[in-house]
């Protein structure tokens, strides 16, 4: 054997040896990617392999490009934007793919381009199947991103959001959802590779959305840190939201009765389990829930009422007039109520309730509980008596109040954050919504509305009208039972759509050439306040006219200007008063419906107009002078 050949063989063996030696490193990388390792070293994401799956192409390109990656990526970005301007979509998709090969762990890029494909590019195509194709490309793109970036949750959330919003909330939602549900077969591409089906589990888009939202939530749990980009409470509400939308969409597809009720039940379960979770406030200083168990909430609520009554009563004793005449009886009653509520609040507290509160609440509670027997010794009449006799009793009460206040501070902080976080996701509304939607009357009302709109679409106007009237009768009864729910913006918005929307009742009436004035129409009157954007008080028009005049005549006489401004204020106030009247009348009508009156047989009290002309008359006389 020649020396050269020997050398070659040795070199080959050396290379082979090096390759074999890299084998164990795979296990090391696997370990580095494992949750245990990442928990121990939360910020160590040094190599691509620890971040997620490696795309071999991407890795090869990065190696070849070396330090030129930034330049190349920049160039590709410029090109991608240019292609988008020129509406060259297919080439754009390829360009985006190349960018992602250069910047595989730049999550914002994944998200931006996924959004670009699913939202912008799809919007540029006119045919629905083309739109659907690009939405799917966008979603697939984000899903690929989740595999390559396993250390973060935003892409999973975003994938869920595309299912939720881009498919579920589009104008073409009905068809897009149907296409998605049917998209269950594997697909061949022009290169003969079989791609897994887009929707292998035959899900609805909202089910898919829920799955991905849950994945995002699970990822956050695994990483043990709050989500990026979004408040934690909002972030965790999405799986439940997807359930709620799933139930809503089922009704839009014509599914009612038991099946719809089951879907609403599932939505409620999801919503409650979301609400019963503990959320950390201000970096773990305090933990709150959106939803406490009834007895816990009862104890907190009574403490709150009792505290505010006692505080109010004690404050008013500082003013002498509180002891005079009727006021004294009122004061005594207030003390009595305060004592009752506080006694209840203390009695109802169980260890479970104390565990909800911040550390230290236990001691404060025990201190006040030890003195709880005092409560029975207070005489409300004596507390409301002026003079030194009353003063000594009040001092005793104040001592107790101070103890109670020490405990209440914990409750107050808890409730403050509970309401703040609950408001963020409109927690109580959605909870109530799920409950109400499950009721047989609500399901029936929804079915009537569905029948009515389908009939309207077909052109069976009388059938539509009949179904609408039955539906609104039930709807008024439901809303009348729960005025707070009726006044919620979300309820108003959805009801408004049923009245003034494309297939709305008011439109139907207009087509039938029947009166459709909500001020006098028996079916519309109970919902009058909900459609006021479409029926603004007449005074507002005059205000707009006057405002236009002020704008057009900048060098108007200052006195005249003042007069007009005053007149505008009066008109606005009158308009607001009219709006309020409409609202009050609607509430009254809804309540009457809830008591079993038929809308069509009800007498509609007229809206007393606020003499809209009196001001105008004044202005005219002034001008005459």
């Amino acid at each position: 054997m020649s020396r050269a050949l020997q050398r070659k063989i040795v070199l080959m063996l050396g290379i082979l040896g090096c390759i074999v030696a890299t084998w164990p490193s795979r296990y090391w990388l696997e370990y580095m990617r494992s949750p245990e390792y990442q928990k121990k070293h939360p910020n160590v994401y040094l190599s691509h392999a620890t971040l997620g799956d490696i795309d071999p192409t991407s890795a090869a390109i990065l190696l070849v490009l070396g330090g030129l990656r930034g330049v190349a990526a920049n160039y590709l970005w410029v090109r991608a934007e240019d292609l988008q301007r020129q509406h060259r979509w297919a080439e754009l998709a390829i360009e985006v793919d190349r960018i992602i090969k250069l910047q595989p762990h730049f999550v914002a890029v994944w998200r931006f381009q996924s959004w670009n494909l699913a939202y912008n590019v799809s919007a540029e195509w006119d045919q629905l199947d083309d739109k659907y194709y690009w939405i799917r490309e966008g979603i697939r793109f984000a899903q690929r991103g989740t595999r390559i970036n396993q250390h973060e949750e935003t892409l999973s959330w975003w994938t869920g959001w595309c299912y939720f919003h881009k498919i579920g909330k589009a104008d073409e939602a009905r068809l897009l959802r149907e296409m998605f549900r049917k998209d269950t077969e594997p697909e061949l591409d022009p290169r003969g590779r079989q791609h897994p089906p887009f929707n292998p589990k035959q899900q609805d888009n909202y089910e898919a959305a829920e799955e991905w939202f849950r994945r995002a939530v699970a990822k956050v749990d695994e990483l043990g840190r709050p989500p990026r980009q979004m408040a934690e409470v909002a972030f965790r509400s999405y799986p439940a939201h997807a359930r709620i939308q799933h139930a809503t969409a089922a009704e839009a597809d014509g599914i009612f009765g038991d099946e719809a009720a089951r879907k609403w039940q599932a939505a409620l379960d999801a919503w409650l389990s979301f609400g019963r979770r503990e959320y950390s406030v201000q970096g773990g200083r305090l933990y709150v829930r959106l939803d406490y168990r009834p007895e816990v909430f009862g104890a907190f609520n009574r403490a709150k009422i009792g505290h505010s009554l006692a505080r109010g009563a004690l404050l008013s004793t500082k003013r002498p007039e509180a002891f005079q005449g009727e006021n004294r009886a009122k004061l005594a009653q207030q003390f009595k109520d305060a004592i009752r509520y506080i006694a209840d609040a203390i009695a109802m507290v169980k260890p479970a309730a104390l565990r909800e509160l911040k550390d230290g609440a236990q001691e404060a509670y025990e201190a006040v509980q030890a003195k709880a027997s005092m409560l029975t010794s207070f005489d409300p009449e004596l507390l409301a008596t002026p003079g030194p006799e009353g003063d000594s009793e009040r001092r005793r009460f104040e001592e107790f109040y101070d103890l109670f206040h020490e405990y209440y501070k914990y409750v107050d902080e808890e409730l403050y954050w509970n309401q703040r976080y609950g408001g963020l996701v409109n927690y109580n509304y959605w909870k109530k919504r799920c409950v109400i939607e499950m009721e047989p009357e609500t399901l029936k009302a929804r079915e009537y509305f569905y029948t009515a709109q389908r009939a309207f679409e077909r052109g069976d106007l009388f059938e539509a009208k009949d179904a609408f009237e039955r539906g609104f009768q039930l709807w008024a009864e439901i809303l009348g039972k729960d005025i707070a729910f009726a006044l919620d913006d979300q309820t108003s918005e959805e009801t408004r759509e049923l009245i003034v929307g494309r297939l709305g009742y008011q439109r139907l009436l207009k087509q039938l050439d029947e009166p459709a004035d909500p001020a006098t129409h028996p079916i519309l009157a109970p919902f009058h306040y909900m459609i006021e954007e479409f029926e603004p008080p007449p005074q507002y028009e005059e205000v707009m006219r006057l405002y236009g005049r002020l704008q057009q005549e900048p060098d108007m006489d200052p006195q005249e200007r003042q007069r007009i401004e005053k007149r505008m204020q009066e008109l606005i106030a009158a308009g607001d008063r009219l709006k309020e009247k409409r609202k009050q009348r609607s509430i009254e009508l809804l309540r009457r419906a809830a008591r079993g009156e038929k809308l069509t047989e009800m007498e509609i009290p007229p809206l007393e107009e606020d003499e809209p002309d009196s001001g105008a008359h004044e202005a005219r006389t002034e001008q005459g002078n």
Partner: protein
């Protein structure tokens, strides 16, 4: 067919003389000046210059092909010894892994593959040409091996020509090899040769959708398949002149601008009397009469102002009109599938006994008008001149067309090699490579260079853009009116832009030779276009070679 192609050639030749003659005079004058500096005597300089120029003409008469060929063979051997053919390995590797980089929407698949094939061949050949052409002469000169050549009875012009021929033959060989492999590769990926390919897979996909009863997706897959098949043809289009008639019946050059950033297409409003009108001349009447149909293909863009009917889309209608006799026929209405190539064949209605094709074409003298109307109210339909054409021939053969596209690449490579050799006669290897690369990049972005040279681009010329970059100023705002900036702008305008203008005249616009763009889109390449490009290429090659000769001659090699 390109009409009056000889006019193009004539005007091109005239322009060529307009550039080359003054340049030649300038070169002679420059040589004279160099001579003065060198010999410090105008007399000797004049003699030297005369010898150079006269020598050229003398050499031209004494050229021997045998000697040139020998030099060319030498160049080829030298290149092979330098393992230039390794490029074929690189080529093979790229094709092995191409699929990784080319995921795309099905409709664009073939288009993307064809473009990819041409781009790869182009880039690899540029690389070969650069390396071979730029290293040969400078290495010879540096190692003094050139002396063994120039001491033989070999003309300087022959050295330059031999080098060029060698590079050209080498590149041609590699090109043919790569071209053939690529062609087979394309046929195989699409399923036209041997194993199942894109067409088969798409058909299977359609069958699958149909089995599932998913008519919507089946329809889309069918549309995608049509695009794939179309890309594998060489369709011969006949283009017409487009104008727009607005609602008041006024003829306009452009339709409505819907506010897109790129305004290539302009729009007609739906359900109004506005329409777009293509006027075709030179329609092959005999052929269409024999076939009894007139095929038309088109791509339109839709701009919606309301959502309206999202399920079916926007409706349009074609009208065929004989401008001579005024006879017209409405074709059926159809829904526009945006961004797809659609096709309508104007045929006889079987329900009526009349021969409509004949009635339409009678007395047309090869003229035909096609009108497009949008029927959906509140929606707009967008189009550009080349968005609708009459299909003169369905398929003139993809294979021939593919190799015609390669001719364009070949011309590009020849130009680059000639440039590289010219540079290598007076520059060292690295500098020659850099210079050629610069010319190559300029040639690929000639539109941009010309835009800068003529001051048509936002952001201004060399100094102005530099100032904008340094001061973080955007492209559109006027720079402050200070004396220094005025000086900079004047320098841009009167000096740098002039140089750039010279560059645009002297350097070839390489994008002009990328005729393969049409192959990718499935259109026939007119041989006349190839002819015109070849003439232009010769126009560039001649001066390059001559300058190379002069430079080599002026160096004191032997």
């Amino acid at each position: 067919m390109m009409t009056n192609w000889w006019e193009h050639v004539l005007s091109g030749v005239a322009r060529w003389f307009a550039v080359v003659l003054p340049s030649a005079i300038a070169v002679v004058a420059l040589t004279f000046l160099v001579g003065i500096v060198r010999f410090r005597s105008p007399g000797r300089s004049a003699k030297w210059t005369f010898e150079l120029v006269f020598g050229l003409f003398a050499d031209l008469g004494r050229l021997s092909f045998a000697r040139i060929w020998a030099l060319a063979l030498h160049t080829i051997k030298e290149s092979i010894r330098r393992r230039v053919l390794l490029v074929l390995v690189v080529f093979g590797f790229i094709f092995l892994f191409a699929g990784w980089f080319l995921d795309t929407a099905p409709a664009a698949q073939v288009k993307v593959y064809v473009s990819f094939v041409y781009r790869t061949i182009g880039i690899l050949l540029f690389l070969v040409a650069l390396l071979v052409a730029c290293t040969g002469l400078p290495a010879d000169i540096q190692r003094k091996t050139i002396h063994t050549v120039v001491t033989k009875p070999v003309l300087r012009l022959e050295i330059v020509l031999g080098r060029f021929l060698g590079v050209a033959v080498l590149c041609t060989g590699i090109l043919l090899l790569m071209g053939t492999v690529s062609y087979i590769y394309l046929l195989r990926t699409t399923g036209l040769l041997g194993s199942a390919g894109a067409i088969d897979f798409m058909q299977e996909q359609i069958r699958r959708y149909e089995r599932e009863g998913n008519t919507r997706m089946a329809e889309k897959a069918r549309a995608d398949l049509r695009q794939i098949v179309n890309s594998l043809k060489a369709r011969v289009p006949l283009y017409g002149d487009l104008d727009f008639i607005d609602e008041r019946g006024q003829v306009k050059e452009k339709g409505v601008d819907v506010g897109f950033e790129v305004t290539r297409r302009s729009f007609i409003p739906g359900a109004t009397s506005a329409y777009a009108r293509w006027h075709f001349r030179g329609v092959p009447v005999e052929k269409f009469l024999a076939e009894n149909r007139i095929p038309v293909e088109f791509t339109f863009e839709v701009f919606r102002t309301t959502k309206q009917d999202v399920e079916r889309g926007v409706k349009a209608e074609l009208t065929f009109r004989n401008p001579r006799t005024g006879y017209y026929v409405l074709s059926s209405t159809f829904y526009v599938r945006e961004n797809y190539m659609l096709r309508k064949d104007f045929e006889d209605d079987p329900a009526t006994p009349e021969n409509e094709v004949k009635a339409l074409l009678d007395g047309s003298q090869g003229e035909l008008v096609v009108e497009v109307r949008c029927l959906s109210p509140d929606q707009y339909l967008g189009m550009a001149q080349d968005d609708l054409y009459i299909l003169v021939e369905e398929d003139a053969g993809f294979g021939v067309n593919f190799f015609k596209g390669l001719v364009g690449v070949w011309l590009q490579v020849l130009l680059v090699s000639a440039l590289a050799i010219t540079f290598s006669t007076f520059l060292s290897t690295p500098v020659a490579i850099l210079a050629t690369l610069t010319a190559l990049i300029c040639g690929q972005f000639m539109d941009f260079v010309a835009g800068v040279a003529l001051g048509q681009l936002h952001g201004g010329g060399l100094l102005e853009s530099l100032i904008r970059i340094v001061t973080h100023e955007n492209l559109l705002r006027r720079l402050p009116d200070t004396p220094w900036i005025r000086v900079a702008l004047a320098l841009d305008h009167y000096f740098f832009n002039r140089i750039l203008q010279g560059v645009t005249l002297v350097l070839p616009d390489l994008t002009q030779y990328s005729v393969w763009v049409n192959v990718a889109r499935g259109f026939y390449i007119d041989p006349i276009v190839i002819l015109i490009r070849s003439v232009a290429a010769v126009g560039y090659l001649l001066p390059f070679v001559l300058v190379g000769y002069l430079m080599l001659r002026s160096r004191e090699i032997a």
